[in-house]
Amino acid sequence: MKATRDGFGEGLLELGRARRDVVVLSGDLGDSTRAIWFQKEFPNRFFEIGIAEQDMLGTAAGFALSGKIPFACSFGVFATGRAWEQIRTSVCNMNLNVKIGGTHCGISVGADGTTNEAMEDITLMRSQVHMTVIVPCDAIEARKATIAAASTPGPVYLRLGRYPAPGVTQEKDPFVVGKANLIRDGKDVSLFACGLMVHEAIQAADLLGSQGIRARVVNMHTVKPVDREAIVAACRETGAIVTAEEHTIVGGFGSAVAEVVVEECPVPLARIGILDRIGESGEPEELFKAFHLTAQDIAQAARSVIQKKRK
C-alpha cells in the first residue's frame, strides 16, 4: 500500500520528464511531501524556499506569471492555512496556474497530533475563487490527479495524505477532473466519499449489502467543481445521501454535496466527518474509530437516512 503523497511524488516525476515548464517549490519537508524525488532528478527546476509558506506561494505566483507551472509543496495545514491570503490575492485573484500539493491531511496523520493534521483545508480552498480542489483516494489516483492538475487551467489544490491508502482504483480507470467515478451502483442510498473515506464507504456498502441494503458508492475525487449531475442523479435514483470525509464537516466536502442536494433535489442527507473538534495523537486506525470515521459509522448513517426517507 502506498500513500497518496507517494502518488503525488510519482506524478511530479512524470510531469518533470514530460514537460519543461513544470517547476517544484518546497517549504522544507521535501522528504515528507515527496517533492525531494523531483529535486533528485531535476535539481535545476526545484526551488527550496525554506520554512516560509507565504513566500513560497508568492514565489509560485511569480513563476506562473512567467509561464511556468509551479507546484508548491508543504503540509496541507501550512500551505492552505498559513498562506491562505497569499493564495487569495497573489494566486486566485489573478487566476494563476499555481498548483498546491498539501500532504499530511486529515486525522490519518496519526501520531504527529492536532497541529499537524489539516482538518479545514477543503473548506479553505473551496472558498477560493477559481480554485479546483481534488482529494485523491489512493496513490494511483493521486498520480493521475497530479498529472491532470498540470493541464487544468488556473489554481489547483491537491489534498494528500501520509497514511498508506488501500488501493481502490485501477490504472485503467478514467480520471477526469470534475467527474465523479461510480464505484458500485445501488438504489437504496448513495455514499459519496473522497480520499481515504472512499475505501471506508466501499466497506460500508459491503456491510449494508449483508443487511439487504443496496448502496451506491461514488468516488468524488473532485470537490470543486463538484459533479452536480452525479449528485442530482443519486438523489433521484436512491433518495438518500451520506457523505464521508476525513475533514471537518463545517464547509467541507459534505457541505459541497449538501448545497447541491438542497438546491436541486432535497432528500435526507447525513455527513460523516470530523465534528467541529480538533485532532489528537494516536494510531490512524484508533483515530478513525475515535472520530467516528469508520465503515460502521457510514453504514449507521446510511440506515438512518433510509429511515427518514420512509417517513
Partner: protein, 280 residues
C-alpha cells in the same frame, strides 16, 4: 553634472509635475484614494519609466523579455496609472474612470490592465512574486530585470523578510527592490507605529546590496539604478528616503493624507503649488 544629464533631469522634472497633477486630479474626481503614498513615489516611477531604466514596450505589454515592475505597495497605484497612461499603455482619458464600476483602474491594481504585472494592495506580497519572476528568468536564461517597489510601512509584513531572505539566498542580482521610505503609514509615523530602523543594516544583513538615496532627487535615483546594474551575486535595494504627499504643502508628512482625496478647492491649491514647485 554633464550638460546632457542636466537636460535629462530638466525633462524628468517636467514629467514629474505632469504626473503629480494628473495623480491628484484623478483622485479628486474619484473622491477617494491615496495621495500621500502616490506623491512620494513620483520621482521613483518617473526615473524608471522616463530615465531609460525600464526596458519595456507599451505597444507590446506582454513582451517576454521586458523588465518587470511589481508595485507591491498597491495603494501607490494612482502614480503608476498616470505613468502607464503617459507612456501609452492606455488612453489618458481612462485615468478619469479611476475607482468606478467597470473601470480597469481599480482602487488597488488588478492584473488585466495593460502594464500592470500583478494585483496588489494586500501589503507585503510583491517581493515574493518578484523573486518568482527573477528565478524563472534565470531558469530561462533571460536577461531582463525585475523591479519591485515597496513602502516602508509595508515592510512591517513578515512575508517581506521571508522574501528578502529568499532573494539573498538565491543571489538574485537581476532583482532590484525600491523602498519608498516616506516615514508615514496610515495611522502615524512608522517610527512610532513600529520602528523599522536601521533599515539599510536590516537589508544588508539579509544579503542585499544597499543604496540609500534622496528619493526625490533624479540624479541620485539614476545613479542608484545604474549602480544596481553592475552589482553581481546580490540583489540590490534602493532605500529611497521620500516625503509623503511630496509637492503639496498641506499634505507633506501628514498621515491623514494617506487615504483621502482632495476636494475641489484643495485640488486647485495643490495644482498651483505643484506648478510653482521645483522637485527633482
Amino acid at each position: 553634472m554633464t550638460r546632457e544629464l542636466e537636460e535629462k533631469i530638466t525633462a524628468l522634472k517636467k514629467k514629474a509635475k505632469e504626473v503629480r497633477k494628473d495623480d491628484l486630479t484623478m483622485l479628486a474626481k474619484a473622491g477617494s484614494g491615496h495621495p500621500g503614498g502616490s506623491l512620494s513615489l513620483v520621482e521613483i516611477l518617473v526615473t524608471l519609466f522616463y530615465g531609460e531604466i525600464l526596458k519595456h514596450d507599451p505597444k507590446n505589454p506582454e513582451w517576454a523579455d521586458r523588465d518587470r515592475l511589481v508595485l507591491s505597495k498597491g495603494h501607490g497605484c494612482p502614480a503608476l496609472y498616470v505613468l502607464l497612461a503617459h507612456r501609452g499603455y492606455f488612453p489618458r482619458s481612462l485615468l478619469w474612470t479611476l475607482r468606478q464600476l467597470g473601470s480597469p483602474l481599480q482602487g488597488h491594481p488588478h492584473r488585466g490592465l495593460a502594464g500592470i504585472e500583478t494585483s496588489s494592495g494586500s501589503l507585503g506580497q510583491g517581493l515574493s512574486i518578484a523573486n518568482g519572476m527573477a528565478l524563472a528568468a534565470r531558469l530561462d536564461q533571460k536577461s531582463h530585470r525585475i523591479y519591485c517597489v515597496t513602502g516602508d510601512g509595508e515592510i512591517q509584513e513578515g512575508q517581506i523578510w521571508e522574501a528578502a531572505m529568499t532573494a539573498g539566498h538565491y543571489k538574485l542580482d537581476h532583482l532590484c527592490a525600491i523602498v519608498d521610505a516616506n516615514g508615514i503609514q496610515q495611522n502615524g509615523p512608522v517610527a512610532q507605529i513600529k520602528n523599522l530602523e536601521p533599515l539599510p543594516e536590516k537589508w544588508r544583513s539579509f544579503g542585499w546590496h544597499t543604496i540609500e538615496v534622496n528619493g526625490h532627487k533624479f540624479s541620485e535615483l539614476l545613479s542608484a539604478f545604474q549602480e544596481a546594474l553592475s552589482v553581481k551575486e546580490k540583489p540590490t535595494v534602493v532605500i529611497a528616503r521620500t516625503v509623503k504627499g511630496k509637492g503639496v504643502s498641506f499634505m507633506e508628512g501628514r498621515s491623514e493624507w494617506h487615504g483621502k482625496a482632495p476636494n475641489a478647492e484643495q485640488l486647485e491649491q495643490a495644482l498651483k503649488e505643484i506648478e510653482a514647485g521645483d522637485i527633482g
